[in-house]
C-alpha cells in the first residue's frame, strides 16, 4: 500500500495522519467544553511574570 511494504513504517505513516485528524476532532469537540475563567491568582501570576520579563 502506498508503495511501502513494511507494515510498521506504513502504520507510522498512516498513524501520523490519523493522529492529526484525531487532534482536529478533539479540538473541535472540546472547543468550548472547558471553563475559561481567569482567577485573581492567574492574573497575579501573569503580573509577576511580566515584571520579570520587562526587567529582562
Amino acid at each position: 500500500m502506498l508503495g511501502i511494504d513494511d507494515p510498521f513504517v506504513l502504520f507510522a505513516y498512516l498513524g501520523i495522519i490519523a493522529l492529526a485528524i484525531l487532534s482536529l476532532i478533539y479540538g473541535l469537540a472540546r472547543r468550548n467544553a472547558a471553563r475559561d475563567d481567569v482567577t485573581p491568582e492567574d492574573r497575579q501570576w501573569a503580573i509577576e511574570e511580566k515584571k520579570v520579563d520587562d526587567e529582562f
Binding site: L2, G3, I4, D5, D6, F8, V9, A12, Y13, G15, I16, I17, L19, A20, L22, S23, L24, Y26, G27, L28, R30, R31, N32, A33, A34, R35, D36, D37, V38, T39, E41, D42, R43, Q44, W45, A46, I47, E48, E49, K50, V52, D53, E55, F56
Partner: protein, 610 residues
C-alpha cells in the same frame, strides 16, 4: 555539488525583507500586547493559532529539520515514528494530560521557571538548584545542535565555509537573544511559524511531484533496498521504507536499537520534560485555550517533522534519478537486470587519468552503489585499460558520508535557488524561536534558580539581571565552541537526543509525581533526579559506544575499548534513557514509600481543587 551557490542581490533583498518584517512585528508587539503574560494580564485570550504555532516554533528547530531530516536520509522512514510520538506525546499527551495541571500548579505556587516549579512543589531549594544547574550545564548542547544545523545549511546554500556561517549565525543569535529577543513575542513567533509551514508544504509537494507522485516515489525508494551501503546493511538497515532488523544479541540488530532508543524514544518522550516547553503551559489562560491549540499544534508538528523525515528519506530516490553522474570502476555487480553495481569511485586527475577517490576516514578507495547508466572504455593512471561506468547513487554518497548535509544538499540541488533562500529563512526562524527560549531558560536557570537560591546562608538573594545576561553570553559561547569543535556523524540529532534524554531521565518522574501524586516526597524526587542523571551520565561516558568513544574516558578505563560492554552485542547501541528512566521511576516510588509524605497543608496549597 553543494556549495556552488552564492549570495545574489535577490537573496539579500529577500532576507532583508524578512528581517524587516520580523523586526516590525516585534516592534508592534513591544508597543502593545506581546507575550503570553500580557494576554493573561489583560484578561484576554491569545488566538489558538498564535498559542499553538508559538509553542510549535519553540519546539521545532534546525535540529529537527536538518539534523533529524538527515538521519532519515541515512536510516529511512523508520524515523516517521518520531513524528508519530511528536504528535501523540508532544502535543496530545502534553497538552491534554500535562498542560492544565502544570498551569494550575504553577499559578498556585507562583512558579515562573521549571526548576522553581519543582522546588516549590517539593519545598526543596536543593531540587531547584539541581534542576537549574542541569539546565545551565547541558542546555548549550541542544543550542549547539540548533546552531550547527543552521550553519551547515547556510554554508551549503550560499557556498561559504562552515566556520564563516557559524560565526554569522552566532552573531545573529547574539543580536537576537542578548538585547531583547528573549521575550516570547508571540506575533513574531507566529509569523515565523507561518513561513516554516509554507516552506514545508512547498518542499513536500515539489519532492513528491519530482518523483512521480506519492506511491511512485515510495515504490521507487522501496526498490532501492539493495543499494543500502554495506556498513549500514551490516547493522540491520533493510531499506529506506523498512524498519531496521529487530532482535537482540548480534551486531545486525544495532541499528534498530540506535534508531528506536536513541533517536525516537529519547526525543519522543523527552519532550515532556523540556523546561522551556513546560513553562509555556503556565502562560496559558485556561484549559479551553489548551484544548483549542491541540489541532493546530498537531498539524504544525506533522508538517515540521513529517516533511523533513519524508523528504530526507526520499532524497535517496531523487539523487538516484536526478543526481549528478558519478564515475568509477565496477567492484561487484549488485543486480545486472536493474543495472546496479558496487563501484569504486574515480575522478580525473590533472593529467586526465582516472584515479580512485579516497575515503577521508579510511584512506581506502571510496565505494558506492550506483545505478549505472553509461559504460565507456578508459585508462587508469598507470595506463591500464578498464571499463569506466557512470551512474547515480544514494544521498549519503553525495554528501561524502555526512548525514547532516543531506537536507541542505538536497535543497541546493533539487529545488530552485529562490526556494533555498525561503527555506533558509524558515530555518532561521525555526532556530531563532527555539534558541530564544533556550537562552531565556539558561538565563533564568542561572539567575533565578542558581544565583538567587545559592548563598546568603539559605536566604534568597535579590534578582540579578547581570547574572542572567552573563549566563546567556556564557551559554552562547559554550554552544558556539561545541558547534565549532565537534563535527561527527549525525551530531545534530545526537546532541538533541542526549539533552532530551537527560531531561527525561532526570526530570520526568519527579515532574509527573509532582503533578499527579500527593504521596511523592521531597527525598523521593531528589533521589529520582540524582539517579536519573547519574545513570544517564554513566551510560554516556562508559557504555554508549558512539558518545563514550568520542569523550574518551572509556578507552582509558578499558584499555582501548569503545564501551564497557563492547563484548556484548547491542548494549553499546542502547540509549541511556532505556536504563536511566526506569531506574529513576523506581527510585521515586521506593524512596517516596519509605519517607514521610508531605504536610497536608502544603498539599492543599498545591492541589486546592482536590
Amino acid at each position: 555539488m553543494p556549495g556552488q551557490s552564492s549570495v545574489g542581490w535577490i537573496d539579500i533583498v529577500v532576507i532583508l525583507a524578512y528581517l524587516l518584517a520580523t523586526g516590525y512585528l516585534g516592534w508592534l508587539g513591544y508597543r502593545g500586547t506581546r507575550s503570553a503574560a500580557d494576554f493573561l494580564v489583560g484578561g484576554r485570550s491569545a488566538h489558538p493559532i498564535i498559542m499553538a504555532v508559538s509553542y510549535g516554533a519553540t519546539f521545532i528547530s534546525t535540529a529537527a529539520i536538518v539534523g533529524f531530516g538527515g538521519v532519515a536520509g541515512l536510516f529511512g522512514m523508520s524515523l516517521l515514528w518520531l513524528t508519530f510520538l511528536n504528535i501523540g506525546v508532544g502535543i496530545l499527551i502534553a497538552f491534554i494530560v500535562f498542560g492544565e495541571p502544570t498551569r494550575r500548579l504553577g499559578h498556585h505556587l507562583g512558579a515562573h521557571t521549571f526548576p522553581e516549579l519543582l522546588g516549590l512543589r517539593y519545598q526543596s531549594r536543593g531540587i531547584q538548584i539541581f534542576a537549574g544547574a542541569l539546565i545551565f550545564l547541558f542546555m548549550p548542547l541542544y543550542s549547539a545542535a540548533v546552531m550547527t544545523g543552521g550553519s551547515i545549511f547556510a554554508a551549503t546554500q550560499f557556498g561559504i565555509d562552515f566556520e564563516v556561517a557559524l560565526l554569522i549565525f552566532a552573531l545573529i543569535t547574539a543580536a537576537y537573544v542578548i538585547p531583547g529577543g528573549l521575550k516570547a513575542v508571540m506575533y513574531t513567533d507566529t509569523f515565523q511559524g507561518f513561513i516554516m509551514v509554507i516552506a514545508m508544504i512547498i518542499l513536500l509537494v515539489v519532492t513528491y511531484s519530482s518523483l512521480g507522485g506519492v506511491t511512485e516515489a515510495h515504490r521507487y525508494l522501496t526498490d532501492m533496498a539493495d543499494m543500502v551501503p554495506a556498513p549500514l546493511a551490516q547493522m540491520g538497515h533493510q531499506g529506506w521504507t523498512a524498519m531496521p532488523a529487530f532482535g537482540w544479541g548480534a551486531p545486525t540488530y544495532d541499528l534498530w536499537w540506535t534508531v528506536i532508543t536513541a533517536i525516537i524514544l529519547g526525543v519522543g518522550i523527552g519532550v515532556l520534560a523540556q523546561p522551556q516547553l513546560i513553562v509555556r503551559f503556565m502562560t496559558v489562560r485556561s484549559r479551553r485555550e489548551l484544548d483549542r491549540a491541540v489541532p493546530i499544534g498537531a498539524v504544525f508538528i506533522m508538517l515540521m517533522t513529517g516533511t523533513p523525515f519524508l523528504v530526507g528519506s526520499l532524497s535517496n530516490a531523487w539523487f538516484a534519478q536526478h543526481g549528478p553522474i558519478l564515475n568509477g570502476k565496477v567492484v561487484q555487480e549488485i543486480s545486472a537486470e536493474k543495472g546496479r553495481a558496487l563501484v569504486e569511485l574515480m575522478k580525473k586527475d590533472d593529467s586526465g587519468a582516472w584515479t580512485p577517490i579516497l575515503n577521508p576516514k579510511t584512506q581506502a578507495p571510496a565505494t558506492a552503489a550506483l545505478i549505472v547508466s553509461e559504460r565507456t572504455p578508459a585508462q587508469d593512471a598507470s595506463g591500464a585499460p578498464f571499463e569506466l561506468v557512470g551512474g547515480r547513487s544514494v544521498a549519503v554518497t553525495y554528501v561524502k558520508g555526512d548525514p547532516d548535509k543531506i537536507i541542505p544538499v538536497f535543497i541546493a540541488s533539487a529545488m530552485p535557488h529562490w526556494f533555498g533562500v525561503i527555506f533558509f529563512l524558515a530555518l532561521l526562524a525555526a532556530a531563532m524561536s527555539t534558541m530564544s527560549s533556550q537562552f531565556h531558560t539558561i538565563g533564568t536557570a542561572a539567575g533565578r534558580d542558581l544565583y538567587e537560591r545559592i548563598g546568603n546562608k539559605g536566604q534568597a538573594r535579590e534578582p540579578s539581571l547581570l547574572v542572567m545576561r552573563l549566563a546567556i553570553v556564557v551559554g552562547l559561547l559554550i554552544a558556539v565552541t561545541i558547534s565549532y569543535m565537534v563535527r561527527q556523524e549525525y551530531i545534530i540529532a545526537r546532541f538533541t537526543a542526549i539533552f532530551f534524554g537527560l531531561c527525561a531521565a532526570s526530570f520526568l518522574p519527579a515532574y509527573i509525581g509532582g503533578l499527579f501524586s500527593r504521596r511523592v516526597t521531597k527525598a523521593g524526587a531528589l533521589a529520582s533526579m540524582t539517579v536519573g542523571l547519574a545513570v544517564s551520565l554513566f551510560w554516556l561516558l562508559l557504555v554508549k559506544a558512539k558518545e563514550a568513544s568520542a569523550i574518551g574516558l572509556v578507552q582509558l578505563v578499558t584499555g582501548g575499548k569503545t564501551s564497557l560492554l563492547a563484548d556484548y552485542p547491542n548494549w553499546p547501541s542502547v540509549d541511556p534513557i532505556v536504563i536511566a528512566l526506569p531506574a529513576a521511576v523506581l527510585t521515586l516510588i521506593l524512596v517516596s514509600a519509605l519517607t514521610r509524605p508531605p504536610a497536608a497543608e502544603h498539599l492543599n496549597r498545591c492541589f486546592p481543587e482536590r
